[in-house]
Amino acid sequence: MTEAAAGGPQKSGPAPAPRLHGCPVEGSLGAVVVHCNKADYLDLCRSLKEDGYVMPIGVTGVDYLTHPGRVLPEGIVAERFEVVVELLDLEARRRIRVRCQVPASDARVPTLFGLWPGTEAHERETYDMYGIGFEGHPDPSRILMPDDWEGHPLRKDYATGHVPVQFKEAPK
């Protein structure tokens, strides 16, 4: 229970992190995680696909608004949002996770639809829940919330319990 985080946040020591396609890689509880900035995101993913990561497992987001103190490898500046992509290599039976920093001021990343069509619904869900736009997505509409919903529910500044009842004329 105590030494569980080994390899994760304690990686900020003097040894430089190994790099994959120019982006720092670290181990996180047995998983391989590549960190990248927004600018490197698409190129990194394209290279990973060429490496054999043919299956997109999922794309999701994390809003680090109230947990800003996380430790990231050198060269990666912590931003409010992270887009997390989980990929699978069926041949080599290995997985990799991409964590891309996305600033709140310009919450947009390129879509991965061109690389893996299976990211389509996941990106829509990430947009729906976090308001992170995916540029070039063929159908960037919401997917789980109604079309006219205001706000993005999984953001940390979107409070629970403040949503009015929408399905009947609730008394004020």
Binding site: G58, P117, D148, T160
Partner: protein, 467 residues
């Protein structure tokens, strides 16, 4: 009610029609700039973008760099004025919940299709951020309500990975036992509803009956037929009850015999064969690039089963076969699920034989509560109990994703911990959500009646899709 002249609270209809701007024009403008990305529904061809059209008509395959795609290549010949857009669902028995599929049809032929989802969205991922880790499995068990053990399993394995806790062998094997029974019950329900969709209504009753046998065993072990909250971080909630071996033995004897009967009833039936064979074929490349998993992926000939390929729990000690198809059509998916039931019985027989003795949860009192009997006699146990249920247990900072092979494919839980007793972020990667993306490629060019067979053999559970 008198009109006082005060501004009326906007109704949903007002808001949908844009008649009222809650929060003032400024806020609305701000929000709209971020949120208005258009309708989720399928639009007529004139107002649909090329990319969306290509997506809905199932043309998702990769193209080499620089090659331009002609959208019309993917379309069955049909002039605009001869096609119509039709809603299937959301409230129809064949949609297995509240799936709404919008299809553009020309006569009986499907030109485009688009699943519209979200009708069962209950914000469970947001709820999970409010619940402590020991409460979390109550939440996740309600996602895929036909395979609750797999949700709990993914969640618990993820939490345990963050904690660095190794659970005792008996807990591991109990988890495997329950998971495999859950796979059987889920496939039985699929067999029932799939047959009913295709007109074999007697199988509906039999499928529910066999599932009920398994659920009766679940009730005996966990206290509940569904939504068990039986797997908890650190082990399972209770040990197996006395006489569980007899129940397992009875089930393992009954199920294969019944499967032989259903084989005779269904598999040789010409109507069922006609409805399934060659319908909705999927090729391996498309399946892989769509992120499709489970029986849907295996039907295309890709032998990928996490139990064998990236073993978790103690699946590496068991002997079982991965059932693989060749054609990737509805018939293959039917055959795979059918035979997976038999394979799971084989696994359960091995588990019952090899079930170790010992603790059913870790004896770390910071993670699992003390037994009820200890609370009356030990001050320390009382304190542990009190602390655990008021504050929960803290999980070290980090992130973990643990996938498990559910009945519908890879279901995995991604947890980010900020060191408190509540997950900072909990995301469930659900198999149904990804598998539903195969809807458009499968339905393209199929008959309208075939889309029912296709939805049925994709086997989405809407609780899992919408979460």
């Amino acid at each position: 009610m008198t009109d006082t002249g005060a501004p009326r609270k906007p109704s949903l209809r007002d808001r949908m029609l844009g008649r009222v701007q809650p929060g003032g024009a400024e806020l609305t403008a701000l929000l709209e700039a971020k949120t208005d990305e258009g309708s989720q529904e399928m639009a007529p061809r004139a107002t649909t973008s090329q990319g969306e059209m290509r997506l809905e008509s199932g043309g998702v395959l990769h193209l080499p760099e620089g090659v331009q795609l002609d959208v019309m290549d993917f379309d069955v010949e049909a002039p605009e004025d001869e096609s119509m857009i039709l809603n299937l669902g959301p409230s129809h028995p064949s949609t297995h919940g509240v799936l709404r599929v919008m299809v553009e049809i020309d006569g009986e032929t499907v030109l485009r299709s688009k699943p519209v989802i979200g009708y069962l969205h209950t914000g469970m991922e947001k709820t999970a951020e409010e619940l402590m880790y020991h409460q979390g499995s109550t939440n996740v068990t309600r996602m895929d309500y036909l395979a609750p053990f797999f949700n709990e399993l993914g969640f618990c394995l993820s939490v345990e990975k963050l904690l660095g806790v190794d659970i005792p062998p008996r807990a591991v094997w109990i988890r495997m036992l329950m998971s495999e029974f859950n796979r059987i019950s889920s496939h039985f329900l699929w067999l029932a509803t799939n047959s009913a969709d295709l007109g074999a209504l007697n199988m509906l009753v039999y499928g529910w009956r066999e599932r009920e046998m398994v659920l009766a065993f679940f009730e005996k072990v966990t206290g509940l037929r569904m939504n068990h909250n039986y797997f908890r971080p650190g082990g399972v909630a209770a040990d197996l009850p006395d006489g569980w071996r007899d129940d397992v033995k009875a089930l393992c004897e009954a199920i294969p015999l019944r499967m032989d009967e259903y084989d005779r009833l269904l598999t040789g039936q010409p109507i069922l064969q006609k409805r399934l064979q060659g319908v909705g074929p999927l090729d391996a490349d498309t399946a892989v690039s769509l992120g499709v998993t489970g029986p849907l992926l295996r039907s295309t000939g890709v032998a990928w089963d996490l139990r064998r390929d990236q073993p978790y729990l103690a699946y590496d000690q068991l002997d079982f076969d991965v059932i693989v198809g060749t054609a990737g059509d509805c018939w293959d998916r039917y055959a795979i699920r059918f035979n997976e039931i038999r394979e799971s019985v084989r696994i359960i027989e091995q588990i019952a034989e090899m079930m170790p003795t010992g603790d059913y949860r870790v004896q770390d009192k910071k993670v699992t509560p003390p037994p009820r009997s200890r609370i009356d006699e030990s001050m320390e146990a009382l304190i542990h109990h009190f602390k655990l249920y008021t504050e929960g247990f803290r999980v070290p900072v980090g992130e973990a994703y643990v996938p498990v092979e559910g009945p519908r494919g890879e279901s995995g839980c991604y947890i980010v911990s900020d060191g408190t007793s509540r997950p900072y972020r909990m995301h469930m990667r659900s198999a149904s959500f990804s598998n539903l993306q195969a809807m458009a490629p499968l339905a393209r060019g199929a008959l309208l009646a075939d889309t029912i067979a296709i939805v049925s053999t994709i086997d989405p559970v809407l609780g899992d899709v919408d979460r």
